[in-house]
């Protein structure tokens, strides 16, 4: 069997050129000297040990105690392509919860004290008193996360508007780029080439018709079509990333073709942040 290759497209530290590492080397620690330029050796050893502060921090954040190296590198966004193993926590599925099972009707019933099961929370009639367990279900979320996302989205929008990048619009059910779309992309290429340090994100969007799940697939096809055409026009692939939002981040919400046509879009964004 031919071993699969893990591609670090942007190099391991962002400075080196793309790095191709065989999966079996990463997994089993085969001496990388034989296969790779010597200059990479310290980097690879560093990854194999996998004790970089960024990695361990991520592991703590996600609560994963059994995360593999492969997953951590995946989380850091360094890898593309195959060979990255998913993971599953050992703690899960110790069995069905039995505390809430029914006890049957009794002639002389003893008192069952209800504390609410996993999903039972909130107050009687919607007004939670002090006795409710409202706190039980809330995710331990980073309170600043939402605000940070908003701020980053705003700066992305500002930077994208300043760049004057034009979007590509698609026909219903389609991911092929129209003549108008080709024109828009050609006009973008000039800006992209004169700003070689910029990372561009191509978002694939869909209108509200169809299922959420399939629209994510369609959105990815649209984003990839845009990327492929930009690459055809000479843009370096490393500067482009794609993401599908399906119908989950529409530009407008009316149920009319005038709105649908705006939502069927390959949207170009100047990438900010992580």
């Amino acid at each position: 069997m031919v071993p699969r290759v893990v591609i670090f497209e942007e190099g391991i530290d962002g400075k080196h050129p793309p790095l191709y590492v065989r999966e079996d080397i990463l997994q089993e620690g085969i001496n990388p000297m034989k296969k790779l330029p010597t200059s990479y050796l310290p980097l690879i050893l560093g990854i194999l040990v996998a004790v970089t502060p960024a990695c361990s921090k991520k592991a703590v954040q996600s609560g994963g105690d059994a995360q593999t190296f492969q997953e951590r590198t995946a989380k850091s966004g360094a890898t593309r392509g195959g060979g990255v193993s998913p993971n599953f926590p050992d703690t899960a599925f110790s069995g069905r919860e039995n505390s809430n099972s029914l006890r049957g009707l009794d002639h002389d019933p003893s008192e069952e004290r209800l504390n609410g099961d996993v999903g039972s929370y909130g107050g009687f009639g919607g007004n939670g008193g002090p006795g409710n367990n409202r706190d039980r279900l809330m995710a331990k979320s980073d309170p600043g996360a939402a605000a940070r996302q908003l701020a980053e989205i705003r700066s992305e929008q500002l930077a994208s508007a300043a760049a004057g990048l034009r979007d590509v619009f698609f026909a219903y059910d389609s991911f092929s780029i129209s003549d108008e779309g080709r024109l828009a992309l050609s006009s973008n290429v000039e800006w992209i080439k004169s700003n070689p340090s910029t990372q561009l994100k191509i978002e694939g969007h869909c209108d509200e018709r169809g299922t959420s799940a399939y629209n994510l697939v369609l959105g990815e096809k649209r984003a990839k079509a845009v990327r492929n055409y930009l690459v055809e026009l000479g843009v370096v692939p490393n500067h482009l990333s794609v993401v599908s939002y399906g119908k989950e981040r529409p530009f407008c919400t009316e149920h009319a073709e005038s709105c649908y046509s705006q939502n069927r879009r390959g949207h170009l964004v100047v990438r900010i942040g992580e």
Binding site: G63, G119, G210, T211, E248
Partner: protein
Amino acid sequence: MTFRTVVIAGFCASLGLVWIIESGAADVFLEATRSDFQKIPLGVVGIENVGGPESPEGRAKLGGRIEEVLKADVRRSLVFSLVDLSTLGIKAGHQGAAPDPSFKQAAGNGVSVIVWGKAGMKTDTKPPDVNMDGYVYDAGSDEVVGGKRYAGSTSVVRLMAHRFADELVFRYTGEPGIARTKIAYVSQQGTARELFVMDYDGFESRQLTADGFLNLMPHWSPDRRFLVFTAYRNRNTQEIDMIELATGKRWTLVSQGGLNITPALSPDGHFLAYSSSHEGNAELYRLDTRTKGVQRLTTNAGGDLSPSWSPSGRELVFASDRSGGPQLFLMSADGSNVRRLTFDGDYNAAPAWSPRGNWIAYVCRTPKKGYKLCLITPDGQKRIQLTTGPGVDDSPSWSPDGRHLVFSSTADGKSQIYMINADGKDLERITFTGTHNSAPTWSPAS
């Protein structure tokens, strides 16, 4: 594919039932509610407040609220038919454990089960303590067959009614009932979409995530303790996460670049099926939750997504656009024996295999380009369009008793969550607030 399965698959086209028996799939179970199932006539006398109208329970209208929840649960059980006892001469106000003489008379008029109870509230404790007693009279045996006594804070009042309703269903069917089940869903919060969980009747909703971006398509673990879902933690990449409801603890399960969508845990929890495009286009994978090994299940140029497990865990139904628009396909859980299930229309997606095995619900595009719910038997022999009218219907998910579906629809304008019986009756909207509620998924029974 073995020679045997090829032969059987050949038979399948004309003899679907034979194929199911031959392959030993055992995914079609006998239904407790056949179409000719006779519902059990049940009457609720009332849940009386122990004190008068000026008592704490009277002011809180405690009994009336429990009674309202209980009656709705009884109606939705589809095991009982709710009888109006006032027309049979049974007066409200009955509280004690002994049956009223009028019950026997009601039994003569065809009522099989009579339920009544009382509710009280103690305000000198903090939080106030609520009590509910419920009694069940069986007309067949002309006696009180049992009761329940619940206590708890004001936050569990609806749960008292739900538990009592489930005890009734359990007593008469041996099934756990669905009144204590939950529905997880996605709700718009500002510009973000976050995960929520609510009771099956749409009440007591709780927010689970607050990432400020997109969390999509939750799916329950078989033990009801976890949800798996798609998250975009940094806006640029998708991952499949798992969250523990009781603690909010979160794990990243799959993070490979590209799409990581439509996760579904097998009925025994041993496998996570999902779709990922990290090797090019969207393909289905199966993660063994014990060995952590991953197996790729599909290999073709089309997008494969939305796997849904058969109740036995031996088969998967999924959507694929390998032949043009999305269509439903079936395969064994190891990726072998793939065959196309849907041939009507050019868009069939989002399949959900009934926990009873006999139907697969999905979204079908109608000739007028509407997106509606359809049902098809796993042998492809029978197909029904379940919903009609305007709006985009999406994300069907079965109740654990296989008698109901929950789904999202834009029929009333904004996307909201609805419930419908598997026979197309009793369409009921269950979310009313917010600008967008979608991707409902029904929990297993507890």
